[in-house]
């Protein structure tokens, strides 16, 4: 270092960059608190994008409205004898289906996002690898919230009167949001694995349809042939749907609620690390 750094009092020139001090300051990984700040910054980015591209709310807005009304009037009579008898069965089912649709969008959008140049910068910055994945998912909580409330309101408009009252409804919506968020880790993992946004979409569809339709979301499981009933009963979506039904219709925190929550935890514990690992590998 031959340059003499003259300190003139008037000009507030920043200090010279000192490599050895910089090396001494480095840390081997982000602390929990740093990671949290990073996740929130990423969530804020996702929120800004949502505000700027409201068209991505389309599925969240249209699907609950359309499906609730359509399913109620088409299947109501056949399955439960009347529309009003079917609504207590249907609304929790639609909720689960809508939440899964939002999950799918999470995976597809992550994949699209990852193909953009800015992800190169995220990778080159000293941030926890989970931040770019978890950030958007926090922002997605808003989407689950909107979708759930909208479904419920549509139900109320066409005559649904939940027996669980305000507590049941709030708890049911909360459970839906939690479940959606947890299941979204599966689709996030797919997003980090797949080659293109389109393939994420394709694979997600293949997962989503059996999960929703081979569950008790729209029909009582007892009406199905034995082998199908067996699958429906182990399908985690069935447990979420039953739990939400218990909450909405009876305001009861039953064992199903517990099972649904356990299922959520299991999904997150398995798929969050998988997603982070696959994301950090893809460099």
């Amino acid at each position: 270092m031959t340059t003499t750094s003259t300190m003139t009092a008037t000009t507030p020139t920043p200090r010279r960059v000192d490599p050895s001090a910089a090396v001494a300051r480095t840390t081997s990984h982000s602390s929990v608190q740093e990671t949290w700040v990073q996740i929130l910054a990423m969530a804020r980015r996702a929120l800004k994008k949502m505000r700027r591209k409201p068209e991505q709310f389309f599925d969240v807005l249209i699907q609950p409205l359309l499906f609730t009304a359509m399913f109620a009037f088409i299947f109501g009579g056949a399955i439960s004898g009347s529309v009003s008898d079917y609504l207590p069965v249907l609304i929790p089912g639609i909720l689960a289906q809508t939440a899964l649709t939002v999950c799918m969008a999470t995976g597809v959008q992550l994949r699209e996002d990852m193909d953009k140049g800015v992800f190169d910068r995220f990778k080159s910055l000293p941030i926890a690898r989970i931040a770019p994945l978890a950030g958007p998912m926090i922002a997605d909580l808003i989407r689950y919230g909107i979708a759930s409330v909208l479904t419920l309101v549509t139900g109320l408009a066409i005559g649904y009167r939940p027996g669980g009252g305000v507590f049941g409804c709030v708890a049911g919506v909360a459970l839906t949001v939690i479940s959606g968020w947890s299941l979204a880790w599966i689709f996030t993992w797919l997003g980090t694995m797949a080659r293109s946004a389109q393939s994420v979409q394709g694979i997600s569809m293949m997962i989503m349809f059996p999960l929703t339709f081979l569950s008790n979301a729209f029909v009582p499981a007892e009406t199905l042939p034995g082998w199908l009933e067996a699958f429906v009963k182990v399908n985690p979506v069935s447990h979420v749907v039953s739990a939400v039904r218990d909450l909405f219709n009876d305001g009861a925190v039953t064992a199903e609620v517990g099972w649904a929550l356990v299922g959520c935890v299991v999904v997150v514990v398995i798929f969050a690390p998988l997603a982070v690992r696959s994301y950090s590998r893809k460099m």
Binding site: P14, V17, P19, A22, V23, V37, M42, S124, M283
Partner: protein
């Protein structure tokens, strides 16, 4: 601290399937210098930089940045290196200010500090007026500047610039050069890649020339240039069939081998001294060979390559037995 190297890379290797994009490159960048990596398209410049920036796994060899092992401590490396990639890595859906704010927050700057830093950088890079416009309305040059600004938020001691001026107009390019020089004055070390000998000449203290994943030379720009002559005489003959005769004249007068270009009747002649151009022109007239155009220019990357590797920069990697 005895070791004053910013980057020390030994026998770096990168394979993409069967294709070896980087084939045993050594780089030694000293603290406080501008080091240029010069090479044609596909030489492996970006790949080398991305490995050093922890964006690509290193398949072979060893790399240290300020003594920190790149492979073992990627998180530390990311705190030491600011990366400006070949293609702008900023968020198209956010404004310039939001981009800088986001990157600052991600690196742990408190909210208010992130705001002031973003403001300072926008001003420094002449982006204040466009600060709150969406990036889709940005020109290529503005995007590049924002990209560079984004790499400087934490004032990293080492900065990677991948072809920082490709696609910029001459004025913007000059500004970029000034900015790069300022960074070094502040104490940062710069590792940049370029396709232009001219740029390496203007900026770099030392240059490594890379070709097909290998380093073919490493020296100061001046030393590299003297290998190919200070300037080049570009000649077009009136009659293309005279080319062999003209080449003889050049050999006899200068003792240099003229480079025949793909257009017929054209040749580039390395000149050890620009004043020798007159000798060649007089020699050609005495031999009765007509000239349709003539100019004296700086040697191009193509000629450097030819001199160093024996093949032009654009040749497809055809018959290289060494592979």
């Amino acid at each position: 601290m005895a070791d004053l190297s910013a980057v020390r890379a030994e026998s770096l290797v990168k394979d993409f399937g069967d294709f070896r994009a980087v084939d045993g490159i050594d780089l030694h960048v000293r603290q406080g210098e501008i080091f240029g990596v010069l090479g044609p398209n596909g030489a492996g410049k970006t790949t080398t930089l991305r490995m050093l920036a922890t964006l690509l796994p290193i398949d072979g060899g060893h790399a240290e940045i300020f003594g920190v092992d790149v492979r073992r401590e990627p998180h530390r490396i990311r705190q030491l290196v600011g990366v400006t990639g070949q293609y702008a890595s900023v968020d198209e859906d956010l404004t310039a200010r939001e981009n800088l704010w986001l990157f600052a927050r991600l690196q742990g700057l408190p909210g208010t500090r992130a705001k002031t830093i973003a403001g300072e950088l926008l001003e420094r890079f002449g982006l204040q007026e466009a600060a709150d416009r969406p990036l889709s309305q940005f020109s290529g040059g503005m995007r590049r500047r924002l990209d560079l600004a984004s790499s400087l938020i934490t004032r990293p001691p080492l900065i990677f610039l991948d072809e920082p001026t490709t696609g910029l107009d001459p004025r913007t390019r000059g500004q970029m050069w000034d900015t790069i020089r300022e960074l070094v004055t502040d104490g940062s070390t710069i590792l940049l890649t370029t396709q232009y000998l001219d740029e390496a000449d203007q900026l770099a203290d030392r240059v490594a020339v890379i070709d097909r994943g290998r380093k073919v030379a490493e020296d100061t720009p001046d030393a590299l240039k003297t290998q190919v002559g200070d300037s080049t005489l570009q000649l077009s003959l009136a009659d293309g069939s005279d080319i062999a005769l003209a080449a003889n004249v050049v050999r006899r007068l200068l003792g240099e081998e003229p480079v025949l270009t793909p257009e017929s009747g054209r040749m580039n002649i390395p000149l050890p001294d620009p004043n020798r151009a007159a000798d060649v022109l007089i020699g050609l007239r005495e031999a009765g060979l007509g000239i349709s155009s003539v100019s004296v220019a700086k040697p191009t990357l193509d000629e450097v390559f030819l001199a160093l590797t024996g093949h032009g920069a654009d040749d497809e990697p055809q018959m290289e037995a060494a592979r």
